[in-house]
Point group: C2
Chain length 357, copies 2
Amino acid sequence: MRRRATVTIHDVAKAAGVSVSTVSRVLNDKDDVAPETYEKVRRVIRELGYASSLAAKSMRSRKTNVIGLIMPSVGEPFTIEVTKGVNRAINDLKYHLIIYTGGSPNLGHWADHEQHFVSLLNGSITDGMIVVVPTIKTFSTTYPLVAIDPHKEGTSFPSVIATNHAGAMAAMEYLLSLGHRRIGFIGGRPELQSAVRRLKGYQDSLRQADIPLALELVQVGDYSAQMGFSCAQKLLALDDPPTAIFAANDQSALGAIKAAKEAGLRVPDDLSVIGFDNIPEADAGGLTTVDQFISQMGYVATEMLVNLIQGKPLESNLYKIPTRLIVRDSCRAISGGPALAGLDLSSRERIETQTPG
Amino acid sequence: MRRRATVTIHDVAKAAGVSVSTVSRVLNDKDDVAPETYEKVRRVIRELGYASSLAAKSMRSRKTNVIGLIMPSVGEPFTIEVTKGVNRAINDLKYHLIIYTGGSPNLGHWADHEQHFVSLLNGSITDGMIVVVPTIKTFSTTYPLVAIDPHKEGTSFPSVIATNHAGAMAAMEYLLSLGHRRIGFIGGRPELQSAVRRLKGYQDSLRQADIPLALELVQVGDYSAQMGFSCAQKLLALDDPPTAIFAANDQSALGAIKAAKEAGLRVPDDLSVIGFDNIPEADAGGLTTVDQFISQMGYVATEMLVNLIQGKPLESNLYKIPTRLIVRDSCRAISGGPALAGLDLSSRERIETQTPG
DNA sequence: CTGTTAGCGCCTTCAC
DNA sequence: GTGAAGGCGCTAACAG
């Protein structure tokens, strides 16, 4: 029976010849412990390789210095970028991070787990948590909690979102300025707010430019490269195919580029493609896109959460991250297009992403 | 004083008119509880939105069904890929995953934390854990633990590693078969075993081909794109610059490609570049590389760990993942080079990565 | 079948 | 300055 595989505070106390409470005091740098006692205990702790049990500690004192990050899955570009930002923030703010994930990106399955995870970590391990793309509108907890890019509008808890509509408008304005009039759109998952907002940006900018909306140019995707690929195939097979494609995210855009290449088209010479998100693959692939500073969303959310934990008031319950157009090599002025207002295309302007924070 | 923000097992017991142990039994589907009692308790649990505290549970019963993943940082390609594999595995094996990260990729700082985290999670929250690129040779714990790509050889615990030497040989053989004889090398962090093994593969293949080792062609990098960039600049500035560069990882290789482009060289026409890892960016950038199936390393490590947890014997204490050459568009036969043994370069063979598992 | 009794490892009064 | 007791929320023996 080896239930003593782990060294506890008792072992330290015994080895140091003091009581457990003294060790506890040393652990938490409390009050005045006699300097010599302090040193002795510290040394024993080091020698025994003791580390206090997170479980036990968090049960007794409601302060663990770790925050939780709940995500439907890791490994997708969006969640990766969020994680990077959170990672930077917890490092700056001297917190620890525990990422809780179910493993299944399957949404239906996930929604059940979401509340469960929140309750699970609630009052347990973490001082507060960040939920990425939550499906639930209200969590039954009074716990410090911040949402990133929630599905629906009007959530009851503090949230960080991107300015999806403005970003989409910027992308479209750029394509229009290059002379494109027939622009295809590859959408995201319709149940996501971000996808809805980007589609609306596409539609609104066409309306502003007095270009009638052509339904056959609007494809419903799901933010995946595979769907981007097949949606692009459909667009390119039209009798009057588009000269440019605006994909609602970079993965779709990269899929679209593959489809174009397979169809014998050259990007950007024969087809312009623009994406959304600015994931690392976009940089490597030379994709023009809209940076929504995903990682900054993670950073800001973490800052908000820590403020919440420390009882400081929040400036706002809804933080909007501005977007920014990143011009690379996947778009070109349409041949025989109109004069371009002040756009020097020979020296392609290159805006480098700046990681904030 | 709102210390009862969270609903406990006592609240459930009181509300259901039973004792706490009965609730506990229901929670764990133990023994025979009277069907009506079971139902009543279940209903109360649902109504109160109760979820058991992970902390308390894990303190009492040594089984939480969650495994821990300890990484120096998230957000780097290597750790991202590992995470993907682990994620798939825990999904298949019905476990939960908690990722523990310090946030700082700084190695010196990290080494201190590593043992601490292991002790921290040890006997706490997780049933076992996976440590990525551990710096410590032996952990003071008898806890289920699997290492991925440990720094040093001869670690005392089960490990998963890539066949770095063989992979490097494969990359070099490919470049040699294309007629290159002056091949630059951009190394990784010298303190990492992977970097050492890849460098050795570079050297050994040159020796096999009877090409003398030119010291000025070997640059010491650090696996970052930035270092890849500056190392490549040095190589290209040589009086007799290389016709090909073998970078010890993809990020370095992508950095090298940028350097080449800035120097006015075209890849692959003027310079061939080959990487190592096969990260997503490599695909997007058309980089020829060596796939070491990083995500599969995560998958296998998880399988090993679960076996360990369940007390099953391990087939082997050291699992080697084979590598594989992925030919894309960043290498070309040297002009005026020797006849190529059976290599048809006009139709560039494209091996797609297959995600295993 | 269900309630009572002990702790798991730790922190926090309260005495000394 | 330090030790002794009590309890955080939960499970695992025991009794009944």
